[in-house]
Amino acid sequence: MHPAFSVIFLTTLIGAAQGLFLALFTAQSYAAFKLLPQPDAHAFYGQGSFLALVLLVAGLVASFFHLGHPERAWRSAAMWRTSWLSREVIVLPAFMGLVFLYGLAHWLDWHPVLMTLPGGLPVDPTAILGVAGTLLAFALFICTAMIYACLKFLSEWHSPLTVVNYILLGGASGFTLAAAFASVTAPELVSFLAGWATIITLLGLVSRSASLYRNARLKPKSTLQTAIGIKHPRIVQKTQGFMGGSFNTREFFHGQPVAMLRGVKWFFIVAVFPVPLVLLLSAMHGGTAVLAVAFVVQYLGLLAERWFFFAQANHPQNLYYQSIA
């Protein structure tokens, strides 16, 4: 497939934002159970949510560049019963709304006790908004990933690993960003967040390696024989029916040499996993600059990862477009 930068930015930006939000609420939950010191809620949760919101808005703006008719984008909420894309279109703004409300509640230090859980744990609006936001964050990961994973003839994508990767890689970048952000606003949480960022990055390494391993061994189900229905071991296309390009030759081919693909692959493998891991471990107890670099490097790596994700997928329609004459 031809990697579209609009979609690459959309998926990586909102992935980081979802991860960041999950990191914020994880910290809040731990603090509620007194497993972590209580940070400055106004600064850490409040501003952190707005940082997540900025990323979400940036992702949303990027996604509009993918559409031929962005002014009709509202229509895309219609078919949520059948289309994962439609579901994403609904869940994304809902999640943005919740992140906004969650951040606002913290920002305004609005903590009236709504009820008390058994054990004497007070529940305030941020806890409820946080739980709802967490559910939506996961729903959004699933919708985004299922857009790709549900296409059964794109076998590189048609796997549960796609969903796992979207969750873990988004989560990793979000927790790394949270650690960098905490080093400024809530230094007492840095080691906790950097620790989780390390764990999620390691899990991401396992699942992404698994999908690379799987994809390297795929055998295409469709062949030229099934494409035109002629039983003969040797069939070559002499002409695809036109000499210039067409939508089919532009949208479904990445057009890059194999060396480029391999280069991007190794770049992302290094930039998403070992480099941020080393930086995170070295800055467990603070170091804003190091953590910021860890996030930036990991994010750049994820851009490359997403590019590769698209470029690697081989669409069966390509069988019909192999020869110009």
């Binding site: 031929g68 962005p70 099934t226 229905g229 003969h232 067409s246 949208e251 390509n318």
Partner: protein
């Protein structure tokens, strides 16, 4: 239930591209149009087409066969392109099974084209909406035309009658008959899309001749061995005499 479809006879198609130009002409001026070309006279021309004729070579020289292969939307009975569309712009008509795009609803997200294994959909560069074969839905029901003209433009144009049009759910229709009796097959059956369009294979007329049909085993001359049997390459009586 009706499922309109094309049946394309690869045994007959000569790759003349008449259906391609006729399709483009009808549809660019019809309700699906315009189908605009970019750079039509430049170095890198490109444009939207609903129908393409491709050519494949089967076999190895000198035993090769050239197969011309017309390709358009197959109006799948289980179209994977429809449920993925977020706006409902892509839909399959209940009454005749034609898969269509509503150009006023389409947002140009291209997702449906990813979901079609056949590469049958093309985004119109100028209108930025998804386009594909409509089976000439604006022709086949047009009662101002004579019955003979109420067929897709490509079918009308084909000089060799390689394209048949009809309802494949009607067991007595010409298309059903062709599929049933001339070995019609769907493309990429492995994806379960159940394409409505079918293709008829190359067919050769062969007869099996057994040796005893060339040389009579019960030839009395041979049985009695009264005469020396002439070698196979000896002239026959027909060659040396005039009767």
């Amino acid at each position: 239930m009706t499922q309109l479809a094309l049946v394309i006879d690869l045994n007959v198609c000569v790759g003349c591209q008449a259906c391609v130009t006729s399709c483009k002409e009808w549809n660019t001026s019809g309700s699906a149009g315009p189908m605009v070309d970019q750079n039509p006279y430049g170095t890198d021309p490109t444009g939207t087409f609903f129908n393409r004729v491709q050519t494949f070579e089967v076999g190895e020289f000198p035993n090769t066969e050239t197969v011309h292969f017309p390709k358009s939307c197959l109006h799948c009975e289980d179209p994977p392109c429809v449920p993925v569309c977020p706006t409902g712009a892509s839909y399959k008509r209940k009454e005749d099974g034609i898969v269509l795009v509503n150009y006023d609803k389409c947002i140009g997200c291209k997702y449906c084209s990813w979901a079609c294994p056949y590469g049958a959909r093309e985004l119109d560069e100028q209108q930025q909406v998804m386009k594909k074969c409509t089976l000439c839905v604006d022709r086949i029901y047009d009662m101002t035309m004579t019955e003979d003209d109420r067929k897709p433009s490509c079918v009308k144009a084909c000089p060799t009658s390689a394209r048949l049009f009809g309802d494949i759910h009607d067991p007595e229709s010409a298309v059903s008959l062709a599929i049933r009796e001339s070995g019609g097959y769907p493309l990429m059956p492995e994806w379960g899309t159940h394409p409505a369009n079918h293709y008829l294979p190359r067919r050769k007329t062969r007869i099996k001749i057994h040796e005893d049909e060339l040389e009579r085993a019960d030839n009395p001359l041979k049985v009695d061995r009264q005469l020396p049997k002439p070698a196979m390459n000896e002239p026959t009586l027909d060659d040396v005499t005039t009767w």
